[in-house]
């Protein structure tokens, strides 16, 4: 049997951490773009669009992320397309992220006083223009803290990709545990690495939130 030193374990985990980071970044940015489109749909006055978005959000917020991963993994395969864990994880995490970001951002949009909508429509701005020039610039200021806060949930969410076989930090931990039989050490290190990724973001989110409260 191969002998793993502490440094072998740590370096293997750190290599796998790169994939956790890559998957998190993709899910967060793609999720953000989808979320922005959904935000326009959700807040628009066209009823079917708003309804579709509502159901979409209900589904992705109301079912376990793990189920969503399974559904993408096995669902796409039904079309006869070969799905890699990578594709399924990216898609599931993107849609899952977008649902939460849309809801967070909607809250920010709705916190903008009604007078801003009335004043801007009195200036003959269209819905898209109102959002673009009046509402979003104000809402985005409030949105930064909860958005950064949610990025922590995305990083933690990527851990579930391990279950459909995507090799990232958690999966690497499981594999190293099977090879070394040192679960306490391996999972402590895995937890520590996640903590190092997430804590700065949590801390930053709290700091922005505090600053915003002082400014108001």
């Amino acid at each position: 049997m191969l002998q793993f030193s502490f440094w072998d374990i740590l370096s293997n985990l750190l290599i796998a951490t790169q994939w956790t980071i890559v998957l998190s970044l993709i899910a967060f940015f793609c999720g953000g773009i989808v979320g922005l489109v959904l935000l326009f749909m959700r807040t628009s006055r066209i009823a079917p669009l708003a309804w579709f978005t509502k159901i979409y959000i209900e589904f992705f917020q109301g079912t376990p992320l793990l189920m969503q991963l399974f559904l993408f993994f096995f669902g796409i395969a039904l079309f006869g397309v070969e799905v890699s864990p990578w594709t399924a994880a990216t898609l599931a995490l993107t849609f899952w992220t977008s649902a939460f970001l849309t809801e967070i951002w909607r809250g920010c949009v709705e916190s903008i006083p009604k007078g801003q909508w009335e004043a801007s429509s009195s200036l003959a701005l269209s819905y898209i223009e109102q959002m673009r020039y009046v509402i979003l610039p104000q809402a985005s200021r409030i949105a930064i803290a909860p958005t950064v806060g949610f990025s922590v949930q995305v990083i933690k969410g990527t851990a579930l990709a391990s279950i459909i076989g995507f090799v990232e930090l958690t999966k690497a931990g499981t594999m190293l545990n099977n090879a070394t039989f040192r679960p306490f050490l391996v999972y402590s290190l895995v937890a520590l690495i996640y903590f190092c990724l997430c804590f700065p973001l949590s801390w930053w989110a709290k700091k922005i939130e505090g600053r915003l409260n002082v400014a108001r």
Binding site: E58, T63, P64, F70, G75, G157, I163, F184, A191
Partner: protein
Amino acid sequence: MSYKLQFAELLPYWNVLLQGLVFTIVLTVVSTVAGIAVGTAGASARTFGPAWLGRVVAVYVELIRNTPFIVQLFFIFFGLPALGLKLSETTAAFLAMVINLGAYSTEIIRAGIEAVPKGHIEAGLSLAMTKWEVLRRIVLNQAFRKIYPALSSQIIIVMLGSAVVSQISAEDLTYAANFIASRNFRNFEVYLLVALAYLVLAILTRAALRALGRVIFKAR
């Protein structure tokens, strides 16, 4: 699409699904009650307790909030036996859930406590109530009213997150789904059905919590 969905093949397994569903519900209810108890104690310690205890609680909260639930679960189930603490799948699942929700509810309840005006605490003290009487009768009461919606959302998040306990073979709803899929290979059908079961569970939980809130906080 050439594939035909065949939900009929799930029928023979209805009792497996039902058992899993019951496990998930019990797991959620028990960890909600215990987790909120932990959270109340933690938040009280952070705001009213000695400084050293507050720091211990803060470390606990940050450790849990900044690591994935599945890693916490693996640490408890696979890691702790190395220290001589061997737990069954079910015990490990319950313990991980309580520890997880305990940390989140500590943070939520603490925010509620801090939103209670300082003057209310002083008024209580001036009426000769002790610190703990003030905490129980005035502060926590108001705090829970304020944070009830946030706490309700967290309970649902934790309920959905509990799907992960299937990975240590705790026999919840997701475990049932995996079991069935391994028998009849109707993966998509099983997971779709179970996903919808979770969705219904989430919607019912939300409605139940809202109704419960109206009963508890019936005033105004």
